[in-house]
Amino acid sequence: LLGGSKPPFEELYREFLQRIYAYVRAQLGNQAEAEDVTSMVFIKAYEAYARYEPRAGTPGAWLFQIARNACLDHHRRAGRRERLVRTLGGQPEAQADPGAMAEERLQYRELMELVSRLPDRQREIIALRHLGLGFQEVAGVVGGSEDAVKMAYHRALRALRSALEASEAEAGEPR
């Protein structure tokens, strides 16, 4: 789905649904709200696709721009952020998520929590960069120059590494 071509919308949808959801989820934190906003993103994209001009940018960048605007709108309306569920007691037995998926989620949960604490702009840039956009495309979505986006990205990486190390050090201390 490179720039210059206009694939059928379903192809775009299947290709980008997970990535758009992951981006929205990283910005909102809450699963249900992320689904609502993701739905709104694709509804708007679907209705606007006839007018979408591939020469203006890749379909991915176009979708992420819609997603970013939808997240900003959501924050303005809701004025609240992520809700996380932590289970203290015993989980219901048996029918939890399939093992591999659950393990993967556990492995990355802490990292995503740290991402959620980044400043808004750094969080957006980290998400967009790791969901397949180049720096130039990221700059087009969030605004600013490509160099400024790169700088913000690497600062975010450094901040995440520091936070990870602090978290690991904390985990090693007796409670």
């Binding site: 379903e10 299947r14 649904l17 997970q18 959801y21 992951a22 981006y23 990283a26 699963q31 249900a32 992320a34 689904e35 609502d36 993701t38 739905s39 694709f42 509804i43 679907y46 609240r80 952020r81 992520e82 809700r83 996380l84 569920v85 932590r86 289970t87 203290l88 007691g89 015993g90 989980q91 219901p92 037995e93 048996a94 029918q95 939890a96 993967e104 989620r105 492995q107 990355y108 990292l111 995503m112 929590e113 991402v115 959620s116 604490r117 998400a127 790791h130 969901l131 160099d147 700088m151 690497h154 600062r155 990486l157 450094r158 995440l160 590494r161 990870l164 978290s167 985990a171 409670r175």
Partner: protein, 395 residues
Amino acid sequence: MNDLYEDPELERQLEGAFRSTRPRRGFEDQLWSSLQGRRPLVQRVRTWLGGLPWIPALATVSALAVVLVGLVFMLRSGGGHGAGSATSRSQETGSQAQAGAGGAQTVTAPDLSRADLGPKAFGAIPRVPTTVTTSYTGGLELSLSAPLPTLPASLPVYRYTEPTSAEIGAFAGARGAGQQAPASQSETANATRFAGPGTDITVVGSDATNLVGPTYIINTTRIPPSAPAAAPLTDSQATRNAAAYLSQLNLPVPADPAVRSGGSEGAQVLYPIRVNGTPGPVPEIDAQGRPVYTQVSMRGDGQVFQVSGPLPVAVHGSAYITSSTAALRQVPNTAAGGPRVRADLTSARLVYVAVAANGGGYLEPALLLTGSLQAEGRTYEIAVIVPVLDSAMSR
């Protein structure tokens, strides 16, 4: 450019983290069905029938008739509960539950009834997990200042069994979607999709993690193209449309609807699910403390395109002994590292939660404690779910 910090290992972890962030199963197809419902009808008909210029108007009438017939079928056979996009549960709250009693819906699909289940099926119920929901990610010291509701010595627990493939097929077939459709990559064996003329149905089995029972989503895929609305859809119009839609199809119209969003973007009318507790109906919630709903979704022009919610399954109840008030006040603290922030729980109310286990599940009473905490210069909401049954009754 300077200060370009490099950390390939961290970047690899980020790739994995974002790649593994996926919507819940069934979401991809549900959303796609909704999108298809928004597609201009003429465009769809031309795709199906080769673009003959006189066909679309005829097909429109036929398609709407099929939708209506299918949904009337659903109505008469007792289907028709929806829930929020991430939640579900049956609205039937006992084998003798009464329709409309106390605002609770009671609809039983005959094809899903379970005459062989009774009190004898009890004796090994799982315990409702204590959960804490908040956006604050640090440690918490929970303080309960809310007066606890006076609980009776016992409360009903309702058991249901997970529907079989044949039962799910019958459910979908009776509602106009008799042909099993290919599952998407996002679906698991827990989700089954059916398609029919004008209707697309996905049934998702119980979700133990999110405390959600079997759920279904019915999308009407043949509806008129969007018409420019003369004025934005108001909440009262949305409520009237939803009620008319349910009534037209002979579906019960539950009490206390609420409207989400509205305006030109469309609206969702939410009917909270209630379970017959003691002494009266009690709201059902999910693992995040959110109410479970019947949900009717409509476009900005008021056209309904989706009804979703708990799959109607038969349930059978039995009384279980509740914990003492002193035991209920033993709210555990969270175990996150670092300093703990005090969170004051100022409200407590009885709720029901779906706990999936043993090829089915239980609607089990619990306490929902809510409050707030101050941290990092912000106010966070907090919700805690604690079981109310005597732990000796669970194992």
